[in-house]
Assembly symmetry: C2
Homo-oligomer: 218 residues x 2
Amino acid sequence: MLSHFTVDCVIYTFHEAQLKILLTERNEYPYKGWWALPGFFIEKDEEMEDAVKRISYENTGLKDIYLEQLAAFAGVKRHPEGRILTVAYVALVRYENVKNKVKPVTSYMKQAKWYPINNLPDLAFDHREIIQLSVEKLKKRLSYSLAPFELLPEKFTLTQLQQVYEALLGETLDKRNFRKKMNNLGYLKELDEFQTGVSYRAARLYKLDRRKFQKLIE
Amino acid sequence: MLSHFTVDCVIYTFHEAQLKILLTERNEYPYKGWWALPGFFIEKDEEMEDAVKRISYENTGLKDIYLEQLAAFAGVKRHPEGRILTVAYVALVRYENVKNKVKPVTSYMKQAKWYPINNLPDLAFDHREIIQLSVEKLKKRLSYSLAPFELLPEKFTLTQLQQVYEALLGETLDKRNFRKKMNNLGYLKELDEFQTGVSYRAARLYKLDRRKFQKLIE
DNA sequence: ATATAGTGTGTATTTTTTACACTATTAAAT
DNA sequence: ATTTAATAGTGTAAAAAATACACACTATAT
C-alpha cells in the first residue's frame, strides 16, 4: 500500500551540564500549540538521511552532524487523519556550534527551544515514546559509542565527559573510578591546555583520539 | 510524500548446531528467481507487527513468535520502479515447532528454504545488508538478550546454548568458563531430565527462569 | 587572608575473566 | 565382555577489572 512518509529528528546537545533536546511548537493542525520533534514530510527521491540533514540544518544551522537511525513508527492511530509512517533519527550536535540558538518563526512552527531531557513538556503524537526509546538506545550503547564526544566540544574536561555519562545513565559516578577507567581505555589524549574563564582551578582539557577509538572497537 | 510500504522479515532458527535464516525464491519481477527475505506489502490499516506475524505465520505456521524491529530501509534506488520503503523485523523461532518445514509454492514465491547464516546465496534488493545488520544487532545485545532462548527448545542442554552463543559471536568459547558464567547469571534452572536418543552420555537439560531473567535486567 | 568552588590523586578489596586437561557416561561395534 | 567413539561434566590459579572511599590543591573574588 501507499503511506504518508515523514522523518522526525531527536536532536541532542549538551549544555549547562544537562542533556537537551530540540523541540518545536506546532502552528498547525493537528496538535496546534503542542511541542513536537522537528520533522517533516520527505520529498520524492530524497534519501532519508538527506531529509534529516535538511531538518537539522534548518534548526541548528549545522551540516555534517552525527546521525543514527532510531526506528520506524507506523501505528495506524498515531495521526488523526490516518497512518503516517515516520522514521525517527537521533542527531548529536555541539551546543557551541549551533547557529540559530532559537529558530525563527515559520508558518508551521511558532518557535524552537532546547529542553532538558528530564523536564519535557507534553508532546504531540507519539513523540514522548520516540524520545524515550532514543534515550534508552544511547544509554545501552554508551560504553562503545562516540556519542559523548559528538555532544561535547572538541576539547573537553573530564568532568564534562563524566556529566554526559551521568546524564545518559541517570546516575552519579565516582570521580576517581571514572577517570581511572577513561585513562585505561586509552583513546583520550591529554592536552597541555586548560580551561579559561573560570573562577576556580582550571581543569585540564582532553581530546578524543579517533584512530585509537576505531582500533579498539575493531 | 506517499511511498510504497512493505515489511521484510529475517526469521532465525537454530538447527543442526547452526543459525539459519528463512529465504524465499522470488517468482516475480524484479529479481525473479533470486532469493529474498520473506516480506510483503502492508495492508491499509494493518499494524506493522501484524503484517510481520502474517508473513511469519505463512512461512512457519507459527503464531506468537518473538519479534523485534530492526530498521527502516528506504533508499531511493533499492527498487527499480522507484522507492519502496521497507521496515525490517527480526523474528526468532524454535525449529522443532516450525510446521511447514518447506513452504508450498505460491504465485509470487517458488519455494522457501532455511540457509545457514554463513552460507547465504546471492540476495535480491538490499537484503544482504539487512541480514548483516540483523546479525550485528543480535550479537551486540547477546549478553542481556532473550534471543538464545527463543531459538532453542524450552528444554535445552548447555552445549546447545553455547553453540547459539558461538554462532552469534562468530568465535568458539571455553566450555568450563561458559558454564561457570551461565550458572553465575542465576537465571538457568537445572532440570532433573536428560537428553534421550543419543549414543553417548546424555546431557542434562536446563530451562530459562524468565522471572529471574526479568529481575536481573531491571 | 580567607572563603569558595571545583580539580586531581592512590590504595585495598572484591568481582570477573581467562587459561587450561582430565575423568565420567553411554551406546554401538567388535 | 571388551573396546571404541562421542560427548558430558568438572576446579583452580592467575590476571584483570570494578568498586569503595577522603583529602590536599589551585585559581579567583572579596
